[in-house]
Amino acid sequence: MDHIIIIGNGIAGVTAARHIRKNSDKKITIVSTETDYFFSRTALMYVYMGHMKFEHTQPYENWFWKKNRIDLVKGYVSKVEHGNKKIILEDGASITFDKLIIATGSKPNKFGWSGQDLDGVQGLYSKQDLDQLEANAPNKEVCKRAVIVGGGLIGIELAEMLRSRDIPVTFLVRESSFWNGVLPKGESEMINEHILEHHIDLRLATNLVEIISDENGKARAVATDKGDTIECDVVGLTAGVTPNIDFLKDSGIELGRGVKVNRYLETNIEDVYAIGDCAEQHEAIGNRRPIEAVWYTGRMMGEALAQTICGKKREYNPGHWFNSAKFLDIEYQTYGWVFSERGMKENEQHFHWRHPKEYICITFAFDKENRKFLGINTFGIRMRHEIFDRWLTEERSVDYVMEYLKDANFDPEFYAQYESEIISKFNSEFDTHISPKKKNWKRIFEKV
């Protein structure tokens, strides 16, 4: 019986394990040093904020693993000997495998800032980071101010977390507007406003120069490239993540920024695979990045690799891009590709609508030559994944999408609907005469 070892019990590794179990009788072992059981990393913020207890972030009850014959080993893998098909744990124990799946995720980026390893300086990725934050910033008396460095999704989550305990937050963002490397201008600006509204001291186009220590080796302040020194007790480093693969340095497994894999998620070594945040495609798939540190892609790689492991060899061949996030109170969903001004394709054109009062806005990207719908960003309006996925597959025009937009609305019942406003703005901007079709269940639930 094949023994599959999976290093890492995040979403990628656990999804792979579950699907391997569904399709086979292989012996499965998951090795992790982070926690005893799988938990949802994306939910850590809610533990600090008091919405949930840590055990609520665990999607499976503790008996699940034994029942499904998935062995859990708590330990840190210090070395992989692929020649002997062995992993060596830090305590010296070794386990042999027939196939090895590396799913070790990411770690927060540190760019060599002076003071980046001081006490009180931390990222937000792991359970340990959460515990550390609880120790560093239990309340506003102990942590009189926190400075967050890096304006991405984790940065804004960390800001929200700290604000939930009334801790003053200064938010250093390198870009001239929040996340504008990804979001188009109108959306990015709306989020800027929302951040300020939450009493977060947002400093755009500001870089960290150094973190200043007190006499005990604890962070005391940060200095910015604007010449400011900001007193603080906690520094959050949230300038992106990088694959967590240091333990593989001399293993012979080909590494780039991540573990190099082909479309089958195979590394250069036979029977060794990598999935999730730590995997790096030799060549990016479509508009995707070679390393996709996203919950959904980790899960999809796990789903795909499990088939290969169980003898039905399959490429990792993700469908249409989608993603979601929440910026404080504003939900964000995206389907297809909408690029920021910085990354915009030559033929890409945007239509942007924003609610006059509420934090609700929407951006459609389409091809200006043939009007093909390319993607949508939606803030404060929920949209149906299935509908947009279908429209992208069917290569519908932006005019079609407008016409049937009501079908895609996924907001709770009784919510105000904005399709008419959106479409009338679209009509006036593009001189079209689209009138919205009524929502139709038959269309919504028909399969492609």
Binding site: A43, H51, M300, A304, Q307, G319, H385, E386, E413, F445
Partner: protein, 528 residues
Amino acid sequence: MKTIKNIGLAIFLIGLGIFTALPLIGTYSLDASTFDNMVSDKGFKSDLFIQSMRNKVVGKEFNGMLGLSSEVTEALESANATHRKNKEHKKVIYTKTHDMAALIGKESGSGFIAENKGLMWFLTFGLGIIGALMFILPNVILLGKKGIKNDGIYHENATNRGWIAWLVFIFLVGFYLVLYFRPEFAVNWTYLVDPISESLSGNPAGHWFVYGFMYCVVMTVMAVRMYIKYRQNVYQMVRTTSVLFFQIVFAFLIPEIMVRLQMPYYDFKNAFPLDYDFFFQWNLKELLNSGGIGLFILVWGIVLTLVIVPVMVYFFGKRWYCSWVCGCGGLAETLGDPYRQHSDKSLFAWKIERWLIHGVLVFAVVMTGMTLYSFFAESGTVLGIKTQSVQNTYSLAVGSVFAGVIGTGFYPIFGNRMWCRFGCPLAAYLGFVQRFKSRFRITTNGGQCISCGNCSTYCEQGIDVRAYAQKGENIVRSSCVGCGICSAVCPRGVLKLENGPPVGRINPTEILLGNDVDLMELVNKKQP
């Protein structure tokens, strides 16, 4: 703002303190003429009881209910025992001892409380309402911008099973025990609402009127809290308004007004088998003796259960009843909202749930079958089992203990839907319809779930919503009451309550949307 909250809390606690002290204080003295009137009104034939009441109670002054209660219950018990021994069955008084104590207590209340009903109402209900609103209303500003407001729920003592939660637990359990088993201690409470009761039905208040009035007050105040907390969510606003309307108008006002109009007391939305005594002999007789309206109620009650309820569940799911109309649901969704996270989500709890709730349904149906058989066959027993004792067991174990003491008393520790999830036979019935023949489902939005667990944590019915959502599967569960909170707390817009075509409502999936379409097709096709 914080100061206003704290002052409000203090005022609320003063009101609550006085209210809690009332059962134990007050003076009671029964004068001879009042007692004589009672005897002739109620038709007591027990000379022993009348005699010992005259000797020990009439003309005497009691401080606090305790003394009076023990005299009355002792007198009644020993009188009945003697009559039974002497086979003087006509003289036996069938009123329960504590109901008798309440009856007599109500007539004998004297002194400050009974003479200052308005003032006492203000010092209890009034202060409670003012204090609670002062505590709640500042949240409009303190909670900040609209959005999900669950910060600190697991840090706060009161909402994380701390000592405050346990105190509330003890208070609620105690309150229900008094209400169901020692109504004489509620006599002082009835005085507070006498003026209200008299203006509605024309009669002085009994302890069930106190309960009904309090129910409405608590729901209204806590609905204000809901409106503030969920102000971004129109579904919650509409639903809260609906459930409040049905409680105040249908459960409280209409039945009282019907009594004034010489009609039977009836809550038109309370469907059998939740309304478990609808077919009890005394109720059928009362309805049949009430002319046209009685007959109408009888037909309505049957049509409600057999036609209206299931048809509505087909179109809208059981939420139309459980979280839009029902009184039990109404209290759970208002007073119980701060405790919704305490429901047990384990598979084990789900197993218990299925046995227990369906067991209660079977119990209710069997009991009703026996009741109807006894009614038409004019026999007190079915297969040698006394119908009356089955009814008594159900009333005590399910009607009082499960629905009341556990159902609400356990809110702060075990969550707000203990009764609805584990006990309500109507919910079990609606659940069958919802699971097997309904347009309602909670749609999972493709592959967008991040398994965070907010939905499961805040599901008051203990459904592990995430278990479905993270598989891309719609949630079609018999126990779902459609409160809509899972959808509200979801940070990624994954869940939507909706009524749509039944085809494809249940959609087990393995590979989620967003991955390789061929892989999805391959793996998902294997599913039944």
